[in-house]
């Protein structure tokens, strides 16, 4: 009985070491060296080759290495009936919230502008933006953590989600009408949605056109939430005034992409929230124990909802 690490684009050594510490003797295999495929009970996946999970006849659980599962559900040839679980970790949500706060404060304080001024040895003070209103799109663990942290430092925070939510201290919206209300006058629009067919391209012409003058778009969801061409046109029109992006349709962002040199765009290389291999290892071990005793894994994903 074994665990397969199926993450072609990632270094698996930290995760393998953490598993060895937690469960000495556990049979851990690293794709493509699968060995006896019938021994694999649990597969830990990140951007696996589509169809590759079909080769595991006794697979009992599929675990995502990250919070998002779009990389899993995008595979049209998933094994039927095998439960899919995502990685849930308070540290992941806390780090995401801090990334969002960093982006929001940097915009309010004009940090990208001052760093550019430093390059040209220019001393040009300008007023900072007052604490305003943030709209968080997506109220899962990540979105909620970000909303709470922004509220804690004095922003007025709104949230929007596909399903209705209620959270103390947070004005929650749902539906298309609610989105319009949430966007009205928001100084920061922060995308922390799951990527599903319903949310793909949601940061498009219609939404961007309703952003306030001077506002900031923060995308720390997935690159495909954003219509990149629409963003370029919207920035030219001044709504939003700036975009702070951690995720892109193509990663790494291609060298000739117009985002790199756009004066209103700040780029970070998908670092908002980094999975802690030790925390993943603990969930893998817990999942193993559960499936071996006939239980379902925790943090199950609904493939129809997409999260």
């Amino acid at each position: 009985m074994a665990v397969l690490l199926l993450m072609p684009s990632r270094d698996t050594s930290d995760l393998a070491a953490a598993l060895a510490r937690l469960e000495p003797g556990l049979d851990v295999r690293v794709w493509p060296k699968v060995g006896d495929a019938a021994a694999i009970e649990v597969a830990v996946c990140w951007s696996h080759p589509p169809g590759s999970l079909l080769d595991l006849p006794r697979l009992r659980a599929i675990l995502s290495y990250g919070a998002g599962v779009d990389h899993l559900l995008g595979d049209p040839r998933l094994p039927e009936g095998v439960p899919i679980a995502r990685f849930v970790d308070p540290g992941l949500a806390r780090d995401m919230a801090e990334y969002v706060l960093t982006a929001v404060l940097a915009h309010r304080r004009g940090i990208p502008r001052y760093l550019e001024q430093q390059r040209t040895r220019t001393w040009d003070p300008h007023p900072y933006r007052p604490a305003g209103t943030a709209l968080v799109l997506g109220l899962g663990r990540m979105g909620l953590a970000a909303a709470r942290l922004l509220a804690a430092v004095g922003l007025e925070v709104r949230g929007w989600s596909r399903t209705p939510h209620e959270h103390e201290g947070l004005t929650c919206f749902t539906s298309e009408d609610g989105l319009a209300q949430g966007l009205a006058g928001a100084d920061h629009v922060i995308c922390l949605l799951p990527l599903t067919p319903a949310t793909e391209g949601m940061l498009g012409r219609s939404l961007l056109a309703r952003m306030a003058p001077g506002s900031q778009l923060v995308n720390a969801g997935r690159g495909r939430h954003l219509d990149e061409q629409a963003l370029l046109e919207a920035l030219d029109a001044g709504r939003p005034a700036a975009a702070w992006l951690d995720v892109f349709a193509d990663e790494p962002l291609p060298g000739d992409h117009p985002f790199w040199t756009h004066p209103a765009i700040t780029i970070t290389p998908h670092v908002a929230s980094l999975t802690d291999p030790a925390a993943v290892a603990a969930q893998v071990v817990e999942c193993l124990h559960r499936v071996r005793s006939g239980e379902l894994p925790g943090n199950l994903v609904d493939p129809v909802q997409g999260y």
Copy 2:
């Protein structure tokens, strides 16, 4: 009876307009157009020419336009017996705290490095620094607000001040021994001291040498707290790893200053906390009413302590 705005380096129009709104008919004069000097009861000062306050024979209060009063007390020819008050405003402390938080998060998240990578179209993710320990030097209104905000976002916060302080949730140090304890292992050292003869140059060789590897110095106090040459040498030695500076011995920072191009230094042009003219106007009017009824102004400065 009149108020004099004695701020040669600053535009006084917003403050004059705010005073006119608050106290219509108030006689407001802008230096150097003093008119009848014997009519001046209150002078609002920022970097006044030394000795210029001696020309006001019936002056009853001197107000600082900012929180710091080093620009006032540095004048060896102040009129004797005229009380000096500083500007105190919750907004000023809140804005300072946010500036400090921005600097701390930007360091933890490597924002200056990512903006430099963006210039060279480089996609190079690196781990962020975990929430660590901050030492706030100076526990006046600014320092305390910064300490509380940093604690609210999860840092372990220590404070150091010349006089002993006690604050819940904050490990407070005083004296030279306490400074050594506060510096030990601190990831961020944040200067929000008043500038006095006792604190001038305090960010010098001895203190910098005790900063932790990987740590960040934030100076939002005054430029003369920092020994600039000592900082350059300390950065070369790797302690601290980075400095985030808002204030400088010479402002604007001269174009040929080595700080501009140092890869470990981030420069903002004295914008951490900007005085709100409307809030100053309210304190000027209150001060006028007090001195006219024979009271002392609020927020008095002790010229011996220097704050």
